[in-house]
């Protein structure tokens, strides 16, 4: 069971449909790994359902017969094909994140940032947030960094520690823009994370400026 969770506010925004796509994917993927947050999320959905129950009635022009006629006319859409990922990917990367990978986790376009850190950018990246998978070699460290804004990191395999604690599979680490930290992977296994970072990582110092160039790619 994971010990680090999204805030209540994030779960509410997820239930209300107010999160960006990348934030929504990382919160929902945490939920797949965390029965506690899944239950909270279902409760928040139930509040939305109760508000729908209590919503007043507005006049409706559509008629039920129309809808049944549309159902009769259109065949249901064919179900989405499953099983295009390998065994490792299916068991390592829960939905909905898996659906945003271009291939199996081993076959992604990994770019080395430094000796210990590799990154694979995801199509989820938008104007404000960079979304990527990050792999830190066992015992390796990420360079000390800050962020343009909120950083959300979900551990998918292995674990890492920084100034704020120790994070394992299913844990969601949250950091704001001002926090400077240096995550170090556990020594016994490579650490695989899903990161959604507002404004991207900021690596200070001369070495950092060079690495920033690599990272921004």
């Amino acid at each position: 069971m994971s010990g680090h969770h999204p805030t209540e506010e994030m779960l509410l925004d997820h239930a209300a449909g107010a999160l960006s796509r990348a934030e929504s994917v990382i919160v929902a993927t945490h939920m797949a790994l965390c029965p506690t947050c899944r239950r909270l999320g279902l409760d928040l959905d139930a509040v939305g359902g109760a508000l729908l129950d209590l919503a007043g009635a507005a006049p409706v022009r559509s008629r039920c017969e129309e809808i049944l006629a549309r159902v009769d006319a259109d065949p249901p859409p064919t179900p989405v094909k499953a099983g295009r990922w390998d065994h490792e990917t299916i068991h390592l990367i829960p939905q909905p994140l898996r659906g945003y990978l271009d291939g199996d986790v081993g076959g992604l376009a990994w770019r080395s940032i430094n000796g210990a850190l590799a990154e694979a950018s995801l199509g989820l990246t938008d104007e404000r947030r960079r979304a990527s998978l990050m792999r830190i070699r066992a015992g390796g460290a990420m360079p000390r960094h800050t962020h343009g804004g909120t950083e959300m990191v979900l551990v998918l395999a292995g674990g890492f520690s920084d100034e704020t604690g120790h994070y394992r599979r299913g844990d969601l680490a949250l950091a704001d823009g001002s926090m400077s930290h240096r995550p170090v992977a556990d020594s016994d296994a490579d650490c695989l994370c899903f990161a959604v970072v507002e404004g991207g990582l900021r690596l200070p110092g001369l070495v950092g400026r060079l690495l920033n160039l690599v990272y921004r790619g």
């Binding site: 797949a32 899944r38 939305g48 508000l51 159902v71 068991h91 939905q95």
Partner: protein
């Protein structure tokens, strides 16, 4: 075989230990019994009849209950009238097509319909489905104690929740509605209501804590 359950049997991964999800208890007969129309219909039974018999009368009763509420919800979240009609049609079509996937262990009927409506609305805005976890994903970490999966419990939960919302202070309900209907962050709600952000957060938190207490009823789980 009277009283036999319809077993909805989605493709489970090996890590899910539950053997029966979304089982809906209704009598097996050749023809569906007549639908009793009521002001407060048994929504779970209606969905079960749509799933089991493709029962158009039951669907009609669901439409009568949900269409005006969906329209009201969609207008409140800012949809234009024509768009609201289109979205509510799509929601009801999904209710018809996915009735057999409705799982009372996960949510009550109004919750299920709310999530369909929310996702259809986001589809419209972003032209894509709202990302959500998949209850049948092999990578899902299962609950230690799966919740009860009967319709009666789901209905009781719904009634408890509606009653609890009724008892909340008006200003808390207003903020909840802004959060759910307004598609707004806490910061935006604070700006709109001219309340300090801390007040918005604490009122919403209080309201949710009381509603979760009404829901908990023997279940574990806390916010932190």
């Amino acid at each position: 075989m009277p009283g036999a359950a319809i077993l909805i049997d989605p493709p489970f991964g090996p890590s899910l230990v539950r053997t029966r999800v979304g089982a809906v208890q209704i009598p097996m007969t050749d023809a569906p019994p007549p639908v009793a129309l009521a002001r407060d219909p048994d929504l779970g039974a209606l969905v079960a009849r749509v799933a089991r018999f493709q029962d158009r009368a039951a669907f009609g009763a669901l439409f009568a209950y949900f269409a005006p509420r969906l329209k009201s919800y969609l207008l409140r979240v800012g949809a234009e009238d024509g768009v609201a009609e289109e979205i509510l049609q799509e929601v009801m079509i999904t209710v018809w097509r996915r009735a057999d996937l409705f799982d009372p262990a996960l949510a009550g009927v109004t919750t299920w319909v709310f999530t369909i409506a929310r996702n259809k609305r986001i589809d419209r805005l972003r032209r894509e489905t709202k990302p959500s976890w998949d209850p049948h994903d092999p990578a899902l970490v299962p609950e230690a104690e799966p919740p009860a999966d009967d319709l009666v419990a789901a209905e009781q939960t719904r009634r408890r929740l509606v009653a609890a919302i009724d008892q909340l202070p008006e200003e808390q309900v207003a903020l909840l509605k802004l959060a759910y209907y307004g598609d707004k962050s806490h910061g935006e709600i604070a700006a709109e209501t001219r309340l300090p952000l801390g007040t918005v957060k604490s009122r919403i938190r209080l309201a949710l804590a009381r509603l979760r207490a009404a829901l908990a009823d023997g279940r574990d789980g806390s916010w932190e």
